[in-house]
Subunit: 260 residues, 4 copies
């Protein structure tokens, strides 16, 4: 086996005296200078975030960090019930449900919008009807394939997801309201026109669009969501240690199931 | 089953119009105002970080985000090789190795130091010999139990871990160099005196001490590390998608194993 | 919340004196009477396996239990390197890569074949040309959608996967060579005819077809594979504890990456 | 890097024509000849199970495969709610809670008993008082260290765990009632004598003792349990797909938490 060249990474390395991360000296250039959000942006995109990009990224991350006693938080807490000594296992269990139904939709919306825009000269400043035309095609393709249009509707926030107008306002204010956020708005309005039923842009979808607009590759959006959710899960596990839900929930479920 | 009161959480909740997180209105009070680091601190400690605490937390988080092609990064990449469609599974696989050998030592050091200090009036401004006395007892207890003293030594950074002096300098500069960081330094010097072999304070241990000094509960330190590491893993998976290591590594391993 | 009726399961329950599993008394009717394979079949299908079905299920399970130092085994071993105290985390890490590329193809083939047969009166004794007609349609649909035909070809076993003829012979001998195994053979021959390139039926695909032929629901095939693989992973971890691969592999990778 | 010799495994390998597993030809010597249970025993111990060992191993495995809507099954189902397309993630989430509280006790008991017996000539046919003496020392050591004696007591089966007498009877009948099962019985009786409170030997503990008596290395017992539990989890996920618990449970929890 002579070609060992595949074993290389830009992300990190170290020798006896130095730790390098994305080509930067960790101790000298990163610690004390960059926030975790800035470093995440840098490692994923290989560019430094502008102030606007970084504020927008933080806004999206905090919007996705937690949503209460979701299936994800419950799975983490129930895992902690069985294995409190291995907290990494509980966090991992909480992340594993980030799929097509929960948490995944942020990434799905990002990919949907990016694919729709690809190969079209659709700048952030294109006229509204250009976005509507693209939206029309993208929705038609989904409907033809029998798959859902992502980014719309929410089981709880039926009229408006409170995160959505906030993300649009922040993007506007920071000057990063780009083509993906604009296309998503067009998708919602064309979708309402076609189906006769208005579904609001959900916070997951708006977050996905905003991430692509600030330069996160669409394929990494699903991963970026996990950084935020890990923070929420760690908080749930700290609370679980002090005030358990997993064990009494199990006992109640067992009790009710055996009466059923 | 009448007592359903156990089903409550301070962390998050939502209704049709509002999402609340730690008692704050997510859209109004958190998005656009807090970084992910600030939110993580707030959700875990239930207090807002001071500027100094937040800068210190970011410094520790970025110091732990990545360390190159570690077992954790390799496990994530090899999982991606088999299941590229489920990126949450790859991130989870990468976190699962955060145990007693890798990544866990940050939390182990935090708990070790906090236990040693517990029930003693050992303020950040106590004299050096008070810290040395506590260190002596704590080391003796470990040696009696036949277990390792955490936070010391590193397989690569044999003389000095570059993260350690940087963390101490930042803590000093931010005015948060507290009893846990001081105790850890005393542990290193007493340990050298007892064993005749100087092991440097490693970056994992210094990070754990620093987190407790800024108010992270020792039991949550192991979880906090995972937030940072998730960011590193997401970057590794973005790179893996573009420039795979998992598949050629597997093929090389298979090839060499069948020749062995 | 008045409808609590959703909290019920057929699979298992217990009270102070009894444990019930699939309606059977565990201690009296299952322990000492059923093998794990028989119990798995029973719990998944809610029917007892015939002797032939059980022998076939065991043959498929052992054929999928291990394949050497695969990405899955390596991810488990590297996780063990970091967290040897939490063996469940290592097994979980090994299973997480069972996706579209590795291990998943058994389930994908099962679903592909079952969908192709659905709604057609295609019994195990239908003539060859009936199977070929169904195969032709199913392949055409895949090619139109631009997706792969599953169950064919193998990176190592380029001419013949040794598991395939064995599974067909056993199925024949046990009298359970059903429509899914027959259709898969037709798929291989029609595919060769259309593409001009003969790809052998692989063991993963033949296993998936065989499982559906003995009554495993196609949607559960992907899960059934994991039972077998867990056995292989536990063996790898026992070996890893005695004769480590994870740590030297990491050190070699690090060394080569820093020279690259 | 010249020593590549560490990359070898006894467990499995393959070349273009053959797949080898534990030195056996998979297609010729294993498929159609061995059950999954027999193969698991063989790969873990590197010996073929006798008929008695194999029947005992199956009895223990089926006794641990499922226990209803446990935290483990609930975590798997809630993960499926979010990511139904990645069934391996749900199975992994279910396994991750196999720790010190749930499922781990089988392995903990195995290790506890094996350590107590180590270095003593305590054959299966030693007199009762020899076992009681060893039990007395082992319990004393646990009490001195402030840790629990494993294998005793059960939250539901307070008087007798129905699996325990069945395992002892089967072991007797198969001629494999060895020193670990005998010691565990002595532990229960000495423990009752010392504490004045009779705790029954639980099924998890008896299973762990039985596995060591048939030759499973104590350190692999915790892993062996996972093979059985994977079978139970796959059945839960098949049921979850048809008759969901995860989503209504989440909605009920959310509803009750927001009223709390």
């Amino acid at each position: 086996m002579s070609d060992h060249q595949y074993l290389r990474t830009w992300i990190g390395s170290s020798d006896a005296d130095t730790i390098t991360i994305g080509g930067l000296d960790l101790a000298r250039d990163v610690m004390g200078s960059m926030t975790l959000t800035q470093l995440a942006y840098y490692l994923i995109t290989r560019r430094r975030a502008t102030d606007a990009q970084q504020r927008m990224l933080d806004a999206v991350l905090v919007s996705l960090a937690d949503h209460g006693l979701t299936p994800s938080a419950l799975a983490a807490r129930l895992t902690y019930t069985g294995a409190p000594e291995a907290v990494q296992a509980s966090v991992a269990a909480g992340l594993l449900g980030a799929g097509s139904v929960f948490l995944g939709p942020t990434g799905d919306t990002a990919v949907f919008l990016a694919d729709a825009i690809a190969n079209r000269a659709l700048g952030a400043d294109a006229p509204d009807d250009a976005f509507e035309a693209v939206a029309r095609d993208a929705i038609a393709a989904r409907r033809a394939a029998g798959t859902r249009v992502p980014g719309l509707g929410h089981p709880v926030h039926k009229v408006e997801d409170p995160r959505t107008p906030r993300l649009y306002a922040l993007a506007e204010q920071e000057g990063v309201l780009g083509p993906h956020l604009r296309l998503l708005r067009a998708v919602a309005s064309v979708h309402a026109e076609i189906t006769g039923r208005r579904l609001p842009v959900n916070g997951a979808g708006a977050g996905g669009a905003a991430l692509v607009d600030i330069g996160i590759p669409p394929g990494s959006v699903r991963g970026v969501v996990l950084i935020a959710r890990t923070a929420g899960l760690v908080a749930h596990l700290a609370e679980e240690a002090a005030q358990p839900i997993g064990m009494p929930l199990y006992l109640e479920v067992e009790h009710r199931a055996s009466d059923a």
